[in-house]
Amino acid sequence: MTGKTVSSVSTMDGLRAQRWQALGRDQSALAAMSVFAQLWISFALYLYGHVSTPGAFSLLLTLPYLLLIWFMGRFLARGAKQGEDAVASAVGNKAAKAFYFLFSLLHFMDAQLTLYAFCAVAGDVMPGHSALSTTLAVALLCFAALDRDPENVLPRLARLLKWAVGALLLYCALIALPYGKTAHFFPLLGFGPSTIGKGAFWLCGAVSGGVWPLILPQSGEIQRLMAQKPRICLKPWLISVGAGLAMYGLSVWLLPVYAMARPQSLGWRMLAVTHMTPSVPAWSMEVMGLFLLLLLSLAHSVFLSAKLIERGAGKKKRIRFLPLLLLLLLCPASILKLPSINLFLVSAAPLRGVAALGLLAALCLCSLMKRKKESAAEDRV
């Protein structure tokens, strides 16, 4: 019996390749957790109230969108030469900067939504808390925690937290299971197919956020890995969609239609599963799991946004206080408590999916044209 613990690595190059693969897997875990967090927020923001029982169908409808984005991303990654930036290789360095700023904006929006949900959960858990102190504490602690080497620390953190958050949420789910009813799944199509379609449109915005770390990786090695092993990028989406399906299924199992549709605060909806469960420890578990998940997603969005701004500005060195600046920029929306800002955020959120698809399609088109030109030039030669 040789056991499974045998290493095939015997050279330094092999060791390096193995480490890049490990980093790729950890990046995938980070992307999966971020997408799952965005899905959770979208469930509470839109799906429970507008789509109700058939929200899982909406989530399934996002799969073609995801596959389309995946194919486009793969096309782009393969088009880039070794060590070359996928976006810059498609549209040239100058235009790439504009694309980076736009991508950065999408991530910034993800961060805003996450902070909005975070403050809402904090408000549900601790009524009377100050949004200002919460956001400032989040900003300063996130920055202090991730100031050094966030590109490596965040994936490692995701790797650690995926077990902790997964265990906490699984515990809640198992505790909650006996309190559901099959009857809650009906009416099976909820308010009809059109609302399911609208829900899918909403969710496309949520799932698109995880795309960019995989298409625009921080290092050439990971980009090469993504081009060679594209399944690494597909996995986090499938995992997060699977987790989202389970989560939505559990919510429907526990919540009757009228409870879902009833106007409730965002915080209540985020913690809906345990609100419907009489178990006392389950509530603590879900709150802790959700806080950690949202913090990770927030940090990921902000640091990615900062990274993309740096790239857009053509900076090779890290701008140290940029993430802190972005984190502090997140504050106004949560401090001002203006319903118009939150309304704007909620109404603009589904457009992220369209924007992501549009940007990616434009990049693919440019890349295709460039490749055609190159092949024509080669033919002439």
Binding site: M1, K4, T5, S7, R19, V125, A137, S284
Partner: protein, 506 residues
Amino acid sequence: MEKDTWAPQPSGVITGAYRQDAALLQRAAHAQDSEDVVLREFEVLGHPAALLYVDGLTDSQAVQRFLLEPLLHAAVPAPETPLDSYLAQTVLPLASLSPTAQLSSVLSRVFSGDAALIVDTMPGALIADAKGFVKRGLSDPDNESVIAGPHEGFTESLRDNTVLIRRLLRTPALICEAMTVGDKVPARLCLMYLNGIARKENVEEMRRRIRGCRVDYVSSMGMLEQLIEDRPASLLPQAASTERPDRAVSFLNEGQIVVLLENAPQALAMPAGILHLFHAPDDTAMRWQYGTFLRLLRLTGMLISLLLPAVFISLTVFHPEGMSLSLLTSVVESQAKVPLTLFPSMLIMLLIFSLINEAGARVPGVLGASLSIVGGLILGQAVVEAELFSPLVLIVVALSGLGSYAAPSFSLTLSLRIAQLLLVIGAGFGGYLGFALVLFCLLARSAGVTSLNQPILSPLAPKRPANPDAALRLPVWRQRLRGAIANPFHMNRAFGPMRAWDKEKP
């Protein structure tokens, strides 16, 4: 900038002009001021000569029998025989005898316990190994006692410590590089590694860091550790320290580099991961079922120590809805007559517990029992009876204290206690919100810590190929890899079945 003019080992050369050399040595070694520094003058073959040594550091019998007597009774050599080679090869029956001309080198060796011989017309000095200072014998390591496994610990003697390791690892591949650290008063240290297993890059990085220590004197291993670690601001230790030669050998087998320092009864291994701090020395010596059981107990204890006080404060102060009614009733009843609220009570009790620990570590052994009675029993009972603290707070603090003792590494215990305090403060200010924020911050900081440029949380995060030997300690015959944190040259420890006899027919 102020110019540093203190030079404890002045420069100069032993030329062979006896009067000058003797005066130089006397002046440089402060032989006239220091009672224990001896400059013994005599004649060798008609030449004036002197022996410089430190009384007590050298073995006086060895000086008498193997240096003075042979020199005083030396036969006249053949004409034109160089004096130094004649003395070294024919007269002095010593295993280690080396010539040197630099005054700094002579002084360094003399103050390490060797004796220096200068003879008129002989350029340079002959350094004889005649060490014979008082040292502690081998004993059971106090801070890493085990149930299964050897009971020998390191001592303060560098050579004894290298011998202890060599005795366990009898292979020429074990390299023991001598270095010094400290600009003014250099302390000797040994860099040990397994040639062919340890990465050259890691060895070179260790050398670079040790050479780059700019300090007059390194007094302890802890000081050296702080000088060479990657992130001094981190809560987590970045090197594994051990008092046990068998543990040092296991580090060497993993491809790590072990540092031994003169006068330090510990070895320091780098790069080290969090698992090196979590594993106890006798885990491998036990059968895997027992090892796994003990590790799970230890992990539970450490988690209780880290999280329980913060969870208790979050629940009782901010989220009473997260408690069952019976627990909530007990909390309210026990807290009813107590003047302090739960958060300051918890902080004060945690600090008192740490104080008792610190006092227990400092008092002489005879008073230890009295201290535990005063600190643990009388104080604990008195504060409850006086209704200063809630008994529930005491129970939580006692449980978390018990859990912190489960950590096998003292550094890890201390970092757990500090993290526990930070979490309690977070929970005290913001309930689960503050708790989650501080926990996230601590985890993120830990994920960024490296040891000799390798992430300290590997093989957990990032994932590295590793034995099934993290939280669980699965069978020895499944543990076929060396720890990936050190990037060893040869990852596999075994090829083919480890229990080969199992497949053979008897």
